[in-house]
Each structure stands twice: as structure tokens, then as C-alpha cells.
């Protein structure tokens, strides 16, 4: 028989007994919906965990430290040098490597404005690979990323570190912390600092620490070319808030100027490695560990949370599966009834030369279609329920109003959106495959029963 004919026979017989078909499909529909919605709530928990971790820092960034040998209690030979940076670049799944160096032995201060009117001490200063800024996910507030090694970039609140030397105490600085009437920090109405770092000449003043000889150390001054302002992101370092970041090559040159010699064994204070995706983090982290370094990332915490949510998903899915099991029994029941009603019909088909495999295919397809139909309807309904749950959790019904934008967020999420119910693509596929499978498994025994019906049934006269 042709596949299309089997399909048609199957749908003819399903539509002939509409009431029963609808009720059986309803069973699968309810079972499927309950599984999808239950599991989607588990996935929603995962989304909220991920969001929580994201607020704690970039999940894809691995911090690398010098290796530590636990048995001897000493640091291993692995060094955070240029060779290390290079070897990290070569690891598969690495998106960017950000070395960070500090300037030891000097107090770093700044002067800005005409005649150095504004001054700042104790500002964070770091040497970084400025070409990796963008890939590492550092966001710009203003200006651009540095392109040459003589250009520097500053943190969002860098300019608030400066005091005005021409003003009396108390009025000589701009307070960036503004409180609203509820006593919360108001980030909307922060007053402007004294100057715009992009448009003001800034000089870095390096003063060697007092070496105890009693001689006044001579400050060393460096003109800075500030080209960009970074958005504050504590997960990426305090420098993004208040600091100044200089390209690592410029810092090396500066150190050479200061000390008069080339530091051939230059080492970084830390190296951060960003993985291409969250899924790549574990592998990249392991590869770095294999090179003899110690690492830290959010991955271990994420793994733990993932394990938890997976358990919850399984538990919730299991609850939903009970109703699907009931539905499966319903399919079997329907098929057995259908087959006993059609005993004579099957006998006739056999007498007219229908192959056994075609009869089996016909009934399996019937059972499978019931499953598929229930699965599709359940899926559609699950999406509707999921969107409604999410709109509730967004507060859309509490006066917020339902907009298309909100519905879209409820359905597919978005940056910073935390949904209560998340239907992942793999859940969609799983639900469809599973419901068809349930149909086939439930229909298997009845189909075999149908196959065993003798062609003699055609002759038998009631």
C-alpha cells in the first residue's frame, strides 16, 4: 500500500469516530500540557538563577592565578606572563584574553584642567590589553575603544575622584551619590562632574614610595590621551568604575622609562579569559588548569545550580508525566475498542489481499496521530499558559498593561528578562517526539492484535 493511502485510511477511521478521537486526544493534550508547563517552570528557575549569577559577574569569564601546588604548598612554575597569554589564546573556545598589570612601587595621582586645577589621589590604575576590551565585553559609556597604545580609557565615575583645588573644603568635590526621598540611591539624577575626561587634559603623576632615605622623591608626569569612558561593571573590575586603564605596551614602556631598564620577566597581576559561550566555560577552565594554573569562575556555582534545577525539572516533569501515562492508557483503550469494532473490516481487507504490515502500519499510525495531535495542541496551549504566567510575573495584569513588547518578552525572553516559565526549543521537540512515541507504544499491542485477526472474519455472518 502507498503511504498516502495508509494515512488516508487512518484519518478516515479517526474522523469516523470523532467523539472518541477527540476525547482520547484530549487526554494526551492534558498530559502533554502538564509536562511542558511543569518543566518550563523548572527552566524558569534556571533563568532566574542565571540572571542572579550574571549580576554577580560575567559568567563566561575565568579568572586565572598562578598555580598552587597543594602537596608542597608552594606556587608552581606557571607564570602569568606573555607566554601564558599566548597559550590561553590557543585554547579552543576562548573568545578573549585580558591580562592585567599593576604598577608597583608608585603612588598614582592625577591632575586635570588648566594648571592642574583638579587633582585626584589613590586612583586605580591598571595596564591592560586594550585591543581585547571589546571582546571581553567591556561596554562604552562615551567615546571609543583605544586604538593605539598611547590612548587610555577610564571608568564611568573616574571624574568624580577629582577635587577642585580652588574651592574650599566641603564644596571642592561632586558627590555622585544622590539619595531620593525614599532613602535609596538615585542613579537617574547624578550631577555632572567638574569636567568631561574626554575633553580635558589629564596628567598622571607617579610618585615613588618613600624609600626611607629621607630624600623627597621626584614625581614623574605622563600626559594621558583619554579616548573613552567605560560603563561601570564590578564583575569586570573596579577600574570600570573609578580607574584608569592604559595599554599594556604603554605601561611596559613607562616602566622602562622609570627604571631605565627593560623588564624581561614581566608578569601580570591577573589574567582573565573569556569563553565563547557559557557551555564552553568548563572545557576552557579545565584546559587552563591543565597548563598548571589555578582558576576561578562562576561555573562551579552554575553547575551546582543547574544540577538543582534539573532535579526540580525532573520532579515537576514526573508529576506531569503521570497524566500522560493515563493518556497512554486511554490511547490503548481507544485502539482496542476500535479494533474490536473493526474485526470484520480487517478480515475483509485481509481477504482482499491487504498485507499484514499495512494493517499494522494503519493502526500504529492511528495511535501515533492521536499522540501527535494531542502533542501539538498541548504545545500550543502550553505556550499560551506560559505567556500568561510570565505576564503575571511581569505584573502586566496589575495595571502595567499588556503590550506586544511584553508578550514577546514573555515568549522568548530578552536581555535582563527573568521569566517564571521558560519553554526551551529542546522541550518543544521532546514534547512532540514523546507524545508520538506514547501513541506508538500504546498502539503497539492493539495493532498486533489487529494483525492476528483472521481473514475468515470476512466470511463469518452474524
Amino acid at each position: 500500500m502507498r503511504f498516502a493511502d495508509i494515512l488516508k485510511m487512518c484519518f478516515d477511521s479517526l474522523s469516523r469516530r470523532k467523539g472518541r478521537t477527540i476525547l482520547t486526544v484530549l487526554g494526551v493534550f492534558i498530559g502533554c500540557t502538564s509536562i511542558i508547563v511543569m518543566v518550563s517552570i523548572g527552566a524558569g528557575m534556571q533563568e532566574s538563577y542565571d540572571q542572579m549569577l550574571k549580576n554577580m559577574g560575567d559568567l563566561s569569564i575565568i579568572e586565572v592565578y598562578r598555580g598552587y601546588n597543594q602537596s608542597t604548598g608552594t606556587q608552581t612554575e606557571s607564570k602569568l606572563d606573555d607566554k601564558a597569554v599566548e597559550s590561553f589564546h590557543e585554547i579552543a573556545g576562548v573568545k578573549a584574553v585580558m591580562p592585567k598589570a599593576s604598577l608597583d612601587g608608585y603612588n598614582v595621582g592625577f591632575k586635570a584642567g588648566v594648571n592642574g586645577r583638579y587633582t585626584a589621589d589613590w586612583v586605580n590604575f591598571a595596564g591592560i590589553d586594550s585591543s581585547a576590551l571589546e571582546d571581553m565585553g567591556f561596554e562604552l559609556m562615551d567615546g571609543r575603544y583605544p586604538e593605539n597604545s598611547d590612548e587610555v580609557i577610564v571608568g564611568q565615575y573616574f571624574a568624580y575622584n577629582f577635587t577642585d583645588t580652588l574651592m574650599p573644603d566641603g564644596r571642592n568635590y561632586v558627590d555622585r551619590y544622590v539619595w531620593d526621598e525614599n532613602g535609596n540611591i538615585d542613579t537617574e539624577n547624578v550631577p555632572d562632574p567638574f569636567f568631561d575626561p574626554l575633553k580635558t587634559s589629564i596628567t598622571m603623576v607617579l610618585t615613588p614610595y618613600d624609600d626611607g632615605t629621607g630624600t623627597e622623591p621626584t614625581p614623574y608626569e605622563v600626559e594621558l590621551k583619554v579616548v573613552g569612558v567605560l560603563k561601570e561593571d564590578q564583575g569586570k573590575g573596579y577600574e570600570t568604575s573609578d580607574g584608569v586603564m592604559m595599554d599594556i605596551n604603554a605601561l611596559k614602556a613607562l616602566i622602562q622609562d622609570l627604571t631605565g631598564k627593560t623588564d624581561t620577566k614581566f608578569e601580570y597581576s591577573s589574567i582573565n579569559v573569556k569563553a565563547e559561550s557559557l557551555d564552553a566555560v568548563s572545557d576552557v577552565e579545565q584546559s587552563i588548569k591543565d597548563l598548571g594554573y589555578s582558576t576561578y569562575s562562576m561555573q562551579s556555582m552554575r553547575d551546582e545550580l543547574n544540577k538543582q534545577t534539573r532535579q526540580i525539572e525532573l520532579m515537576l516533569g514526573g508529576l506531569g508525566a503521570i497524566s500522560l501515562l493515563v493518556a497512554a492508557i486511554g490511547i490503548t483503550n481507544t485502539m482496542i475498542m476500535s479494533i474490536s469494532e473493526r474485526t470484520k473490516e480487517i478480515g475483509i481487507m485481509k481477504a482482499l489481499g491487504c498485507y499484514v504490515r499495512d494493517i499494522r502500519a494503519m493502526f500504529l499510525m492511528e495511535a501515533g496521530s492521536i499522540g501527535l495531535l494531542g502533542g501539538i495542541l498541548g504545545l500550543i496551549f502550553s505556550f499560551i499558559i506560559s505567556v500568561i504566567i510570565n505576564l503575571f510575573s511581569f505584573g502586566a495584569f496589575g495595571g502595567g498593561g499588556v503590550t506586544w513588547e511584553l508578550i514577546k518578552q514573555a515568549l522568548i525572553g530578552g536581555e535582563g528578562v527573568v521569566r517564571t516559565s521558560v519553554i526551551k526549543p529542546e522541550l518543544v521537540i521532546f514534547a512532540l517526539v514523546f507524545s508520538v512515541l506514547i501513541g506508538l507504544v500504546s498502539g503497539y499491542q492493539p495493532a498486533n492484535k489487529a494483525v492476528k485477526i483472521s481473514a475468515l472474519e470476512a466470511i463469518r455472518n452474524e
Binding site: A351, G353, I459
Partner: protein, 245 residues
């Protein structure tokens, strides 16, 4: 009908025993039977004579306890279920007492069903089916469902279905058992007409003596034994006016 060629159906030492509780019931004793190609053969007997059992063995619907049934040389009593299905598709047609049309299919679709099992394209098989329906005089009933037709019309659909694959042998089990005498005549004329025109063999099972009028050979069964096997001269007027359009 001349017996000069090999018989299309040949039965040798056929025995069928049923178990009824603890008792053996012998439905067929050593049956030997040859039916030549192109003959209309009536297996005649009262209820319980074993005629239906014999039909079941001949058509391969049941396996005999012993002995062999050959159709066109193929020992169908030894085929497995798949081989039987393939054999039925090619060589066998059935006309049933209760018509056995599928209620959700139209007349044309019912007739086309054996072709569907063969995997023939829907357009082709419906065309064939409609040709057959024209031949049995149901030109304007093609898209009717069985419950919209009279018994005689339904049986004509059944006949069209049995002959649509042009099988070598058509088995007819009390084909007129549910019909009145006028329709019986029509139906029997039709079956005989097809058989003669396409040189097909008909095995007719009946308890109705009237049926024997249409048969070239009458095999009478009593208690599972063939008591007579005679050739019969069919009246010229029956063959003179075959009911085929």
C-alpha cells in the same frame, strides 16, 4: 467445458478437523477435487455439510489439517500470511454473502480497494473502479456510500470489486443469500457473464438449488464428503443474455 487442460484448482487428500472442546469434529474427509479453468463450479450442500469449510480451504483463509490445495500450481495451503496476501492480490477475488463493503468508502473507493492494497496510484485505480462500476450498471452510483444503495446494488459493487483485479479465480460465498429472486437472477447472470467473457473460474458455494442452474459443474457435499461431482449443461438463454453493460 472441455477438460483437456490442467485444472486451475486442484485439491488432494484434503482433511480438516476442528476441536470442539474435547471432541474432534471432522469437517472434511479426504477430499479430492479438480476444477478446470474457466468453469463456474457450484459447491452445493446443506448447512453443516462442510461446504463453507471447503471454501475456506480453497481460498486459503484456513489451513487444512492435512492435504494440499493448489491454485494454478501454487500450493496455497502452505503459503505464509504475506505470500497469501500477495497471492490474493494477484489471483483471487471474493464475493461475500453480506457484501462486506466498507461503509465509509464510496462505491468507487470500495471497488478500488484491492488495487489500493497493490499500491496502485489513486487516479489509475479509481478509473479502473469506475469502468467496472459501469459494467455492472452502477454508472450513476459511483460516489454513493453503501448505506445509500439497495442490497442488489451493493452486491453489484461487491462483484465489481471481486473482478477489478481480473483474478483467475473468484470465490463467491452464498452471493445471493440476502437478495430477492429477481436480484438473484441479475447477480448470477452478471457473475457468470464476467467469468465467461474473461475466462475466469468461479467457485460458488450455496445451499440454494436454484444456484446450480448457473454452474458448469455441481459438486455436492454431505457430511464432509463429496457425494457427487457432475457437469451441468447451462441453459442457452442464460449465456445468451449476460447481464453486463
Amino acid at each position: 467445458m472441455a477438460n483437456d487442460q490442467k485444472p486451475i484448482i486442484s485439491v488432494r487428500k484434503l482433511r480438516k478437523v476442528y476441536m470442539m472442546g474435547q471432541e474432534h469434529v471432522v469437517a472434511l474427509h479426504n477430499i479430492d477435487l479438480d476444477i478446470p479453468r474457466g468453469e463456474v463450479c457450484c459447491i452445493f450442500g446443506t448447512s453443516g455439510s462442510g461446504k463453507s469449510t471447503l471454501l475456506n480451504q480453497l481460498a486459503g483463509l484456513e489451513k487444512p489439517t492435512r492435504g494440499v490445495v493448489r491454485i494454478g500450481g501454487v500450493p496455497i495451503s502452505q503459503l505464509n500470511e504475506n505470500q497469501l496476501a500477495a497471492f490474493r492480490q494477484k489471483h483471487i477475488g471474493f464475493v461475500f454473502q453480506s457484501y462486506n463493503l466498507l461503509p465509509e468508502l464510496t462505491a468507487a473507493e470500495n471497488v478500488a480497494m484491492p488495487l489500493m492494497f497493490k499500491g496502485i496510484d489513486p487516479d489509475v485505480r479509481l478509473l479502473e473502479a469506475k469502468k467496472m462500476l459501469c459494467r455492472v450498471g452502477l454508472k450513476d452510483r459511483m460516489d454513493h456510500f453503501p448505506n445509500q444503495m439497495s442490497g442488489g446494488q451493493q452486491q453489484r459493487v461487491g462483484i465489481a470489486r471481486a473482478f477489478v483485479t481480473h483474478p483467475e479465480v473468484v470465490f463467491a460465498d452464498e452471493p445471493t443469500g440476502n437478495l430477492d429472486s429477481k436480484t438473484t437472477k441479475e447477480v448470477m447472470h452478471m457473475i457468470r457473464g464476467f467469468a465467461k467473457r474473461f475466462h475466469q473460474t468461479i467457485v460458488l458455494v450455496s445451499h440454494d438449488p436454484e444456484m446450480t442452474e448457473y454452474a458448469d459443474r455441481i459438486v455436492t457435499l454431505i457430511d464432509g464428503r463429496i457425494v457427487s461431482n457432475v457437469e451441468n449443461q447451462v441453459k442457452a438463454e442464460i449465456d445468451a443474455a449476460p447481464y453486463i453493460e
